[in-house]
């Protein structure tokens, strides 16, 4: 099951650039939450702070509190533990090109020391089914490389790979921006199905996509979170003029 995320006074820097400024936000469990905003507004930095990937950049740092359930991820846990609980899917699918579909999906488990074949088989099948890819690849699991799949299939395979380690939270950084409309629909359907089991945070530039998949939406601008509300409210009657200017395309 998914877990809620509570963010308080989160600040982040790249070198001297203050990229996130005092972000306070409650992301509810088992919901899809969309983050929107212009390029460079800090939304990707924000999701990278949620799984402590931000700090992998040597010039980056973050302060504040991010609680996943009861765990303060910056105080009570190691980054590796956190990333096991939080799966991440990126803009462009990033399969391991020399690995089979099976090995791509099982890679996270293997890295964590799982070797039991039956468990691996069961997990790969379950994850591919959850990612709505099983029917398309079940006969070629070990024959085809992950890189031989179409872009949309590769992205669903990457989602299966993220699900295989049984995370509670799924972070998606523009997961469909490089995909055609049919593959995009499949990813969106998937998000809709997955949110009953996982807490999903999706960064997107596609506002119709945010409106379609997310219950809540946050608008970021210049490193600040201007507005966070139900997606319905944000897209029909936002409170802040800057949010309205952005979503109506009047933001110059």
């Amino acid at each position: 099951m998914g877990v809620g995320i509570n963010v308080e006074h989160l600040n982040a820097w790249y070198g001297t650039t203050h990229t996130l400024q005092d972000i306070n936000l409650n992301i509810p469990a088992n919901h899809a939450t969309a983050l929107i905003g212009p390029s460079g507004c800090g939304k990707s930095t924000f999701v990278r702070c949620l799984n402590r990937m931000h700090e992998t950049n040597p010039i980056a740092r973050a302060t504040g509190m991010v609680k996943m359930g009861d765990v303060d991820i910056y105080k009570d846990a190691q980054p590796v533990q956190i990333r096991r609980r939080i799966g991440m899917v990126f803009q462009r699918p990033n399969p391991f090109p020399t690995m089979s579909i099976y090995d791509n999906v099982a890679s996270g488990l293997k890295l964590n020391g799982f070797r039991n074949r039956a468990i691996l088989d069961e997990t790969v099948e379950r994850s591919l089914k959850s990612a709505a890819l099983w029917e398309e690849v079940k006969d070629d699991l070990k024959k085809k490389s992950g890189a031989s799949l179409s872009g949309g299939q590769q992205q669903r395979m990457c989602i299966a790979r993220a699900l295989a380690v049984d995370p509670e939270v799924l972070l998606m950084d523009e997961p469909a921006s490089a995909l055609d409309p049919v593959s995009t629909s499949k990813i969106e359907d998937l998000i809709f199905q997955l949110k009953s089991q996982y807490t999903i945070v999706i960064v997107t530039h596609n506002m119709q996509q945010a409106a379609r998949v997310a219950e809540n939406t946050g608008f970021f601008l210049n490193g600040k979170m201007v507005e966070f509300d139900s997606t319905h409210k944000i897209f029909t009657n936002p409170k802040d003029k800057r949010t309205e200017d952005y979503i109506t395309g009047r933001f110059g």
């Binding site: 506002m207 897209f235 029909t236 009657n237 309205e244 979503i247 109506t248 395309g249 933001f251």
Partner: protein, 222 residues
Amino acid sequence: MATRIKFQQNLDDLKERLLIMAGMSEQAIQRSIEAYRTRDLSICELVFQSEPVINRLEREIDQMALDLLAMEQPMAIDLRFILSVIRINADLERVGDQAVNIAVRVREMGAFANIELPVDIPKLASLASAMVRKALQAFIEADAEVAQSVLKLDDQVDEMNDAAFYSLSSLIKEKPELTPQSLNALIIARNLERVGDHATNIAEDVIFWVRGKDVRHNQAVV
């Protein structure tokens, strides 16, 4: 820097088109009342002639709105504006229909003696027209306060229509020979009451557009 220049231009065009439609519907109502007052059938003809033009404008505005919804995926205030335009468009077309209904009644009344009736149709018409005018002013100026003031006028129109009903039905009982004139006047009063209802709808749509609040069906105005 302004963005979405073409979209903004299209929204302006849509608004302008709706205002042309509004002008025609308002004029049709005024003409129908003028025809009642003067019993001039040539004015009724002008009302009949305006109907197909109003109908054509209704279809044109709907198509423009549909195109914008499909092609521009409007959000927030733009989405509310286009939805309001679609609804206001339908109400204005119905105002035009009420003008035609009144003109039909006036034409029918021409066959009977022009007698003094216990109902002040011009006064009722002036109030209903004022509601339409005010609702359109609210639309032009995006002014929810003005729109709200329209809602309050509707009760007055309803009361005048109720009073017309009682006085004309009493007249029919007392002087059955005046039934045709009384019935026509009764229907005209009802038509004008409907014009007031359409003005109310338009005002509610302006409030929805400007404030994002749905105040239809006596929901509290926030």
